[in-house]
């Protein structure tokens, strides 16, 4: 197989509040012989909040980010579900409307760029499971995560809206997602089946509706715990922020002690590949991860 190479759009959180996500992503890419070129020119995707305020501005900024992947002639990979949503949504709208594309390109021309629509956009999870393949990954497992029961928490924006994401997520069904479950098994661990694996964590209303956010995260986490999860793994840093940092508030809202380690997807992969915990940024995790 030719060496896989992608343009990596890190998003904001991986550079700030979840440095462990960027560290572990780079560490497993190296171990799996995947080349990631950092898109340092990229700006924030707007996280679906800028979109509520100014549609044209968010389209233009996201199109600009994609331009830099196009310049490299590479598929863009994202490591945040919400970056994935906003980038893929921009791409879909521009690729399906010549008029909109022209309007955005008028703006981009002012800074010497042009959106062409030549780069695909996919989440790194699907670069791993679809492009590299589970077989290749399991060949490189040196420390199988046996005896560990892991609950996959998919987050919303990798799987919904399905018409948008199915082009890049291997046709994952939003009602029965299983890519992370299969990855868990390929790493030697046991996947936990639970109803809330494809439900919302509430991150996007954390400031204005903390009760809603805490209840949604709490319902999902307790469902995972009640079905035997010893840790929860997620491909989304926003779900991670919610579940890792807010456990004390979620505990208060749910009236039940919640104390469970939350791993980023590449941290889980890295552990099975035998990468040292420090290189995976496990020292940054807030909920205790010493079990590893």
């Amino acid at each position: 197989m030719a060496k896989l190479k992608y343009a990596l759009y890190t998003g904001c959180t991986a550079r700030e509040s979840t440095p462990e996500l960027l560290k572990s992503t780079m560490a497993i890419a190296e171990a799996l012989d995947i080349e990631l070129v950092l898109l340092d020119e990229a700006s924030c995707c707007g996280a679906s909040h800028l979109q509520d305020f100014d549609d044209m501005l968010s389209l233009t900024l996201n199109a600009r980010n994609i331009c830099y992947a196009e310049k490299l002639g590479l598929t863009m990979v994202t490591i945040c579900n919400t970056c994935q949503l906003n980038t893929a949504m921009t791409k879909e709208r521009l690729d399906n409307s010549g008029e909109l594309k022209e309007k955005v390109n008028e703006k981009l021309k002012e800074v010497g760029l042009e959106y062409k629509g030549t780069s695909d956009v996919k989440h790194f999870l699907y670069a791993l499971v679809d492009d590299l393949g589970l077989e290749e990954i399991s060949k490189k497992v040196v420390k199988p995560l046996s005896d560990l029961q892991i609950a996959a928490y998919y987050g919303c924006h990798n799987i919904r809206p399905s018409h948008l994401q199915q082009k890049s997520n291997g046709g994952e069904n939003p009602y029965t997602p299983n890519s992370i479950d299969k990855l868990i098994v390929a790493l030697g661990a046991k996947n936990v089946e639970y109803e809330h694996k494809n439900k919302c964590c509430g991150f996007h209303v954390e400031l204005q509706a903390p009760k809603t956010a805490n209840r949604l995260s709490g319902n999902a986490m307790l469902d995972a715990i009640d079905n035997g999860a010893e840790t929860i793994v997620t491909p989304c840093p926003l779900c991670h922020l919610r579940m890792d940092i807010q456990q004390h508030n979620i505990t208060k809202e749910m009236g039940r002690e919640i104390d469970i380690p939350i791993l980023h997807l590449p941290q889980m992969v890295g552990l099975a590949l035998g990468i040292e915990p420090d290189k995976l940024g496990l020292n940054h995790n807030i909920a205790d991860v010493t079990f590893v």
């Binding site: 904001c12 550079r15 700030e16 509040s17 979840t18 440095p19 340092d40 020119e41 990229a42 700006s43 924030c44 707007g46 996280a47 679906s48 909040h49 800028l50 979109q51 509520d52 305020f53 100014d54 549609d55 044209m56 501005l57 233009t60 900024l61 600009r64 955005v104 703006k107 981009l108 002012e110 800074v111 760029l113 919303c156 924006h157 919904r160 809206p161 399905s162 069904n173 939003p174 009602y175 029965t176 109803e195 439900k199 919302c200 509430g202 996007h204 209303v205 400031l207 204005q208 509706a209 809603t212 956010a213 949604l216 940092i245 807010q246 004390h248 508030n249 020292n283 940054h284 807030i286």
Partner: protein, 328 residues
Amino acid sequence: MVNKDKKKLLFNVFRFNSETDYLPHYDKIEMEVGSGEVVLDVLNRIKWEHDGSFSYRRSCRHGICGSCAVKVNGKATLACKDRVEDLVELFGEELTIEPQNKGRVIKDMVIDKKDFWSKYNSVEPYLKTEIDENPEKENIVSPEIAEMIDEADYCIQCGNCYYSCPAVNVNEDYLGPAALAITYRFNADVRDEGKRDRLEAVNDIGSGIWDCVKCFECAEACPKELDPIGKITKLHQQTFEEDMAQDNVAVRHAVGFKWSIDKHGLLDEGELVKYSEGLFGVLKHIPEAIAMYKKGKIVMPWEMPKSENLDEIQKLIKSASTAKFKGK
């Protein structure tokens, strides 16, 4: 009906009579189902062939009346539209049929939709305008202008989006996707004059547009594919267009993205929380901030990463911005 490939399936059917039962139970029913049969065929056969007391709503059988919505393995379905074989492909040969909301059951699949209807009606989902009773010419609406309503007009009030919305599920005050989508439908109608009243009705934190969690469950659940969350996004934009956005934490959060991107390209997460919450509001986040600081999750202002070619981003913000907010 094409029945050449019959398949034996097991249905777990939710049963509950609110007048006589203390707890619900599930009937296990084995049935041969042919390709082409829809969920409504199964509901009919449960009643006709297995138990005449089984209750469910049905009427048009053509995806128009919105009566027959139920959940199959947790997935919102319109029983007369969704084919059983598609559900088998998704979930396997054992299917669980349940009402849209188990907490509101009157009998079996029949639920009390009062919560749905009262919220739907609260946004005045009809044309509000002074009608000239003796018009001298036609009021012509061009196709381009009619298109602004988008597919929002296709809503059949089945409740699938509403009873799939996780925000509604944990916050009974939230209006939910159906009421908000129909708000957009009339707000986008050039003949209507109730836009500002409706925006007023959906603008409050706790019940309105700012409580949408952006999960896209409504977009998946809608049998008419009218993308309720897309309409909620447009309502957000309308509050800015109409200069009705309140100076509150959610609005400042949305606006703050532009402010932060203009400074750094990337988001300054800490500053954004401060910008959104205000000086006093930010205090409640101190426990998390301390925990994050200890684990190296807070970037100090002097270490704040910036996008390369930031001048391009700043130039685009100047030239591509279309919205305004006077609050800040």
